[in-house]
């Protein structure tokens, strides 16, 4: 049932990562959520987190990032380490792009990579599993198992395929990213489905799906605002923190076709404006791919 109350709601707090005391190996864990008002307008919320996205198969990664990180792209664990230590990311989002290959069946590698990345990092980890319903349950099981106790943030549950992510999250104690296609109602529906499957509300992070700046981002922006407003005015099924991960930002025409000298600046600007706007709309975690964007965002969020 939707809890309605006149005073409005507090966004649920979701813990990411687990320290030793919490049963994991992370040096820190983060608690996101807790807002009682619009972003920047009240108290209650911590600073939004900036996640750097990396992947296990760079063939599916934007060239502008590959050029910047060089050899790191071929060593997922080192890339993850650099994300935290060199680039200053609050956390890493690991994408299993390898599952996009035709006939993928290297499930052991999924587990191994998860373990390696966890070993290479000290902060909470976001894991983006497969994009393929056929692979879902095995991929989620393997990475979920490999990260048992670490309170990963596992992605991505969608209305058509949420049961396997939910099962892995429940079995190994992780949180779940619930992604719906830019629609406040669909976001709510998915949260209800997850709830009715048994995923506790404080282990759900909403991903309203982010379009790229200039390519429909405004829809995502408004949906995030709507989700947050609905939550603050009492809709418990939407009162979860939000994550923004605009996957297409670095493949838009403006970045792809920029003069080589401008490309990096354009990539960073495009990611920065998108991520910052998402924060203004209420995102607790913004995911970017270019290491320089991490720095820019963190500077912007200080003070």
């Amino acid at each position: 049932m939707t809890e309605q109350s006149d005073e409005g709601l507090t966004i649920r707090e979701v813990r990411l990562g687990a320290t030793r005391e919490e049963g994991g190996t992370r040096e820190v864990s983060y608690v996101i959520g807790g807002e009682r008002d619009l972003p920047f307008s009240g108290d209650g919320a911590g600073r939004p987190l900036v996640a750097l996205e990396i992947c296990d198969d760079p063939r599916f990664w934007p060239p502008v990032v590959r050029d910047y990180v060089g050899d790191l792209a071929n060593d997922t664990a080192e890339w993850a380490r650099a994300a935290e230590r060199t680039y200053g990311a609050d956390l890493v989002r690991l994408n299993f792009t390898s599952t996009k290959q035709r006939g993928f069946d290297a499930f052991d590698a999924i587990a191994a990579t998860t373990e390696e990345v966890l070993a290479a990092t000290a902060r909470p980890l976001i894991v983006e599993g497969s994009n393929e319903p056929e692979l879902d349950s095995e991929v989620f099981r393997r990475c979920g198992e490999a990260g048992e106790g670490e309170r990963l943030l596992l992605g991505t549950a969608e209305a058509d395929r949420y049961r396997s992510v939910a099962a892995a999250a429940l079995a190994y104690g992780h949180a779940v990213i619930a992604q719906s296609p830019i629609d406040v109602n669909l976001a709510k529906q998915l949260n209800i489905l997850l709830r009715e499957t048994g995923v506790p509300q404080d282990r759900i992070v909403i991903d309203p799906y982010a379009g790229a700046l200039g390519y429909g981002f405004e829809y995502s922006y408004s949906v995030m605002e709507r989700i947050r407003l609905a939550a603050l005015s009492g809709d418990a099924d939407l009162a979860m923190p939000m994550i923004c991960a605009p996957t297409d930002t670095l493949s838009v025409r403006e970045v792809r076709e920029a003069a080589p000298a401008d490309q990096e600046a354009m990539a960073v600007a495009w990611e920065f404006y998108t991520a910052y706007a998402a924060i203004v709309a209420g995102a607790s975690i913004v995911c970017v791919r270019h290491p320089l964007t991490v720095e820019r965002l963190k500077a912007a969020l200080e003070g």
């Binding site: 619009l38 972003p39 920047f40 307008s41 599916f60 035709r102 994009n131 393929e132 319903p133 969608e158 058509d160 296609p181 830019i182 379009g211 790229a212 700046l213 200039g214 390519y215 429909g216 981002f217 405004e218 829809y219 922006y221 408004s222 949906v223 605002e225 709507r226 407003l229 297409d248 493949s251 403006e254 920029a258 401008d262 600046a265 354009m266 960073v268 600007a269 495009w270 920065f272 404006y273 910052y276 706007a277 203004v280 709309a281 820019r296 500077a299 912007a300 003070g303």
Partner: protein, 444 residues
């Protein structure tokens, strides 16, 4: 609280005479309720009723024009706090700041860039709007010269930023007739500045920390005869700006404090994080944003964000219907039917380009509705598909007669087959699943 349609209806003549241009009084009431019609349109209302209903529609944020001529900008006249509630109407003016201490060439080059740079996106020309001249030389004549260098207001809208009355006198002597924005009246100097701007009939920015102080200052200036005001809440941090701007817009919209019903001013250079400030200003209610000169990447991203945020959320951006080749398709490539809702298009495009599968995107004109809505609303029909197939000459491009339709259009599959004679394959509902689907299912 806006009145509901039925409440408004009670006050209308109920004669359904159509003089207002709507088929029934109730239809008119419904438009009034959402602010899409003017009470005046009904000739048969007595003055009392008019004022009762008319009070609902006056814009809560005043429209203020800055500059004159082609490049002049009008800001304000907003009705909502969140764009999804209706739309934002008047995008903020972005004004690049120069100083009167700079060498002439530097000023000139900034002004040239503002004047000449146009970013074209989705059929619109996006520009940085004007120039802000800051008085730092302590020499009024130098200020006036720089104002002249910036075009004197006749080409680009200007903001004159100073604190010395003498500087304003000098600056306005040059640009006063082109409605520059004068920044800023404070608790100390407002009387003189209000008189001055009244004389030139130009808009005035008032600056005070906090909504209450701003309201009182704005009230005094308006009373003194300068109705076109812009509010500078003098934020001490960017977060502070967002919070105050939200508060001010909220009281303006809620009409709790009419003296706050003016556009807002933001100095994006004030916090050492220009990009963040630009984004924040665009998103959160700034009407005028003054910024240091921008690198091209920042400029393009900021203008794009502004365009995005100020598009009407209720009017989806549309892609031109037609047939779009992707990844160099041949005659055996699949034809993928979709709608001209831009987001659908861009999402599909992204997945398809990444998949490297050669194919044709076949975009039917559903007036910008998504597949789901277009099917439900009867905009995507077999006749439309059949007509579009013909119109775009799809049959000449390929040597098969197979049409992949979106999963949500499944209910139309039979009818499309009948109307077109093509065999219909029902694709997945989700764009992300399309490449996988094509790999598995597509055999021309």
């Amino acid at each position: 609280m806006a009145m509901k349609a039925l409440d408004i209806y009670k006050h209308l003549p109920k004669t359904n005479c159509k003089k207002c241009g709507y088929p029934t009084c109730l239809a008119f009431a419904m438009k009034l309720a959402v602010g899409k019609a003017e009470v005046e349109a009904c000739p048969d209302l007595d003055p009392d009723t008019k004022s009762l209903l008319g009070g609902v529609t006056r814009p809560p944020v005043r429209l203020v024009t800055i500059g004159a001529g082609e490049r002049s900008i009008a800001v304000g006249e907003e009705f909502v706090l969140f764009r999804h509630e209706k739309t934002f109407y008047h995008p903020p003016g972005i004004m690049v700041q120069v100083s009167d201490t700079w060498p002439e060439d530097e000023v000139r080059s900034v002004v040239e860039t503002v004047k000449e740079t146009v970013v074209q996106r989705v059929g619109q020309d996006l520009v940085v709007n004007g120039v802000a001249v800051k008085y730092e030389s302590n020499r009024p004549e130098r200020f006036a010269a720089t104002v002249a260098l910036a075009g004197g207001g006749s080409t680009l809208p200007l903001v004159l930023i100073a604190s010395d009355p003498a500087a304003f006198e000098a600056g306005l002597a040059v640009a006063g007739h082109y409605r520059p924005l004068v920044h800023a009246a404070t608790e100390e100097n407002w009387e003189g500045l209000a008189a001055l701007t009244k004389r030139y009939g130009c808009p005035l920015a008032v600056r005070a920390a906090g909504p209450a102080e701003l309201a009182s200052l704005a009230g005094k200036c308006a009373e003194a005869g300068t109705p076109d005001l812009v509010l500078d809440p003098a934020p001490s941090s960017l977060a502070g700006f967002i919070a105050t701007a939200t508060e001010i817009r909220r009281s303006a919209i809620g009409r709790t404090e009419p003296a706050l019903g003016y556009p807002l001013y933001l100095d994006a250079g004030a916090f050492g994080k220009t990009d963040a400030a630009l984004a924040a200003g665009i998103l959160k209610y700034a009407g005028i944003i003054v910024t240091p000169p921008l690198a091209s990447a920042s400029r393009e991203a900021a203008l794009t964000l502004r365009q995005n945020i100020y598009t009407d959320p209720q009017k989806p951006i549309q892609v031109t219907p037609g047939i779009y080749p992707i990844n160099e398709p041949g005659p055996d490539a699949p034809i993928l039917l979709t709608v001209n809702f831009s987001l659908t298009y861009f999402t599909l495009l992204g997945y398809l380009e990444a998949s490297r599968i050669p194919c044709y995107l076949f975009i039917a004109d559903t007036e910008g509705l998504s597949v789901l809505t277009a099917v439900a609303g009867g905009k995507l029909t077999e006749t439309l598909v059949a007509d579009s197939l013909k119109k775009f000459g799809v049959a000449d491009l390929v040597d098969h007669r197979l049409l992949v339709i979106p999963g949500y259009a499944a209910p139309l599959s039979g009818k499309i087959e009948d109307a077109t004679g093509w065999k219909v394959l029902v694709g997945p509902r989700d764009a992300a699943d399309l490449p996988g689907y094509l790999e598995k299912e597509w055999k021309a």
